[in-house]
């Protein structure tokens, strides 16, 4: 299965992956609207830094996904493509998936009125090449087989 592979030696901590991810998951998929007018989505990848190291990390789409096992509502599930995604209409923001994810790549979105929303990489279901991979100027993220 292809996932986003991480090549840390090529990362220059430019955050373009995060920008692309935010735009891809926005209502309009337009960068200005996504950043200035709409509710800005949370980036599913995180560029992390500890000089001279930097890398962007996101869900590894585990075979034995512990996040699915821990989910109390079945919101966290494997889709038809085999990737691990959140069903927003089922998520109740209990953060049990966060408690279980061995990579620490699930984020809390606490902006919904009633239920929190677990937010993670969905491997861009509307695209052939993930947005972060396409946006990376240095091939520090590549869409490849693991």
């Amino acid at each position: 299965m292809k996932i986003v592979k991480i090549y840390e030696d090529s990362c220059v901590y430019c955050h373009l992956c995060e920008v692309a991810c935010i735009v891809e998951h926005s209502q309009s998929k337009d960068i200005i609207k996504a950043f200035k007018r709409e509710t800005k989505p949370i980036a599913r990848c995180s560029a992390e830094f500890n000089y001279p190291l930097s890398y962007s990390v996101m869900c590894r789409h585990c075979d034995d996904a512990p996040c699915i096992e821990a989910c109390q509502t079945g919101a966290m599930h494997r889709d038809e493509r085999g990737y691990v995604v959140v069903n927003e209409d089922k998520c109740v923001g209990c953060w049990m998936c966060i408690m279980a994810c061995p990579y620490g790549v699930i984020k809390k979105d606490e902006r919904r009125e009633v239920w929190g929303l677990s937010t993670k990489c969905d491997l861009c279901p509307d695209r052939e090449t993930p947005a972060c991979v396409e946006a990376c100027p240095n091939n520090a993220l590549m869409f490849e087989e693991v």
Binding site: E8, E48, T73, K90, C94, M99, G104, V146
Partner: protein, 418 residues
């Protein structure tokens, strides 16, 4: 093969999914004394106050068509009263028998009710299934004041929800803090504050010894001699495995059904998983029931796979909790309070971090506030990871992959090490 599963909840559903990954042919029958399709028990307090209703899909663990899709026959609203392991059948309360080739017991737990005068009075509730939630919900019109007995997970949650709903709640906890096994004093202080700000009155280090009233409960009497006027009492002092129907089956039990690493009981054809079992706790190195949802799911899956001949080992579990009370979210796991082991902790603006380390292995932790990396510590505990070179970074708010060695990080990112 004919596979019968007792219980129709988390462990059962995960067993079904595992079986169907390998085997589309075997017959599967799920038997439960509840009427509903599998649902989320942690949402019961929300159900009581009407945050969520039974017509909301969120409440259910799997979609309506799950059973059809997986070719599972359900027998609902029927209690299992016995097992004949020699003749391989289970017996229902109406004397009906269902034969099996393989049996999985996922009967979960039930509330522990302490022996005390007055527990049979009207207005005394528990909260572990839909039936008890419906009963409490219906009774809400009679409840202005309520005493919650026991400040564990269920007690703290229902106290919070009822207080938000406008009920005057008094929470009585025997120990010196709520959520005793999953928080230390510092961590519990956050929750005490939240509960108090919602108007919950906390009585700690005291216990309810007697309930008074004519037909309906009117008063709770404490061991200190205090007495509290109340319209209702919710008993939430713990759960224990459902074991009545095990009686003469020959299945070995202790506090729960004893299982080996393959989720198999002492009888080859019978497996057990979830809250009903007593499985290996890798942190305390003993077998004991750990009634939490993620372990019920894992054990159910393993039982299902092993019935299909996969030889998958459980490898042990430990308690993990993710709880939100009021505005505070925390995650804790393993051993959280001890003075015998190495402890690293820090309390700073909006967060509390604590780690318990035994001979350079992480055995427990608490994160309050900043919780997003919690699962990385879960992995370290589960895999008995040597943290000697890493532990100095645990207290950093930005703890993450940047603190690992490059070689290890790359292997993990590439999924070369599980």
């Amino acid at each position: 093969m004919k596979i019968v599963i007792i219980g129709n909840s988390v462990a059962c559903i995960n067993a079904i999914e595992a079986i169907r990954e390998k085997d589309k042919i075997s017959q599967i029958i799920a038997v439960s004394d509840e009427q509903s399709r599998a649902y989320s028990h942690p949402l019961l307090p929300n159900l009581v106050i009407g945050d969520i209703s039974r017509s909301d899909e969120r409440f259910y663990y799997r979609s309506r068509n799950f059973y059809e899709k997986n070719k599972v026959k359900t027998v609902l609203g029927k209690k299992v009263v016995g097992i004949s392991s020699q003749n391989r059948y289970i017996k229902l309360e109406n004397d009906e028998k269902i034969s099996y080739d393989r049996l999985i017991i996922t009967a979960g737990g039930k509330p522990f009710i302490p022996k005390m005068d007055g527990v049979e009075l009207e207005g005394v509730h528990t909260l572990t299934n839909i039936k008890s939630a419906d009963k409490l919900k219906k009774d809400l019109i009679n409840i202005k004041k309520c005493v919650v007995v026991g400040g564990g997970l269920i007690g703290s949650k229902i106290a919070e929800k009822l207080a938000k709903h406008g009920v005057k709640v008094t929470l009585v906890e025997l120990m010196k803090r709520v959520l005793f096994p999953v928080l230390d004093d510092t961590g519990a202080e956050y929750i005490h504050k939240e509960l108090k700000s919602l108007g919950v009155k906390l009585i700690l280090g005291d216990s309810v010894v007697k309930l008074d009233g004519n037909k309906r409960v009117k008063k709770a009497v404490l061991s200190s001699g205090k007495s509290i006027d109340t319209d209702a009492v919710i008993v939430s002092v713990g759960v224990k495995p459902n074991l009545e129907f095990i009686n003469e089956s020959g299945i070995e039990i202790n506090r729960g059904i004893i299982v080996n690493d393959y989720m198999q009981t002492n009888i080859d054809t019978i497996y057990a998983a979830g809250d009903v079992t007593e499985a290996y706790d890798i942190v305390t190195s003993q077998k004991r029931p750990i009634p939490i949802l993620p372990l019920a799911a894992r054990q159910g899956r393993i039982a299902g796979l092993n019935i299909e001949g996969e030889n998958v080992k459980y490898g042990g579990g430990f308690p993990t909790n993710s709880i939100t009370i009021g505005k505070i979210s925390f995650i804790s796991m393993g051993i959280v309070d001890t003075d015998k082991l190495e402890i690293l902790k820090i309390k700073k603006d909006g967060e509390y971090r604590k780690f318990i380390i035994d001979d350079n292995k992480l055995v427990g932790m608490i994160l309050v506030g900043n919780i997003e990396k919690a699962g990385m510590f879960n992995w370290m505990i589960q895999n008995r990871f040597d943290v000697s070179w890493l532990k100095d970074t645990f207290l950093n708010s930005d703890f993450g992959w940047q603190y690992f060695s490059k070689a290890f990080r790359i292997l993990r990112f590439d999924r070369k090490i599980k």
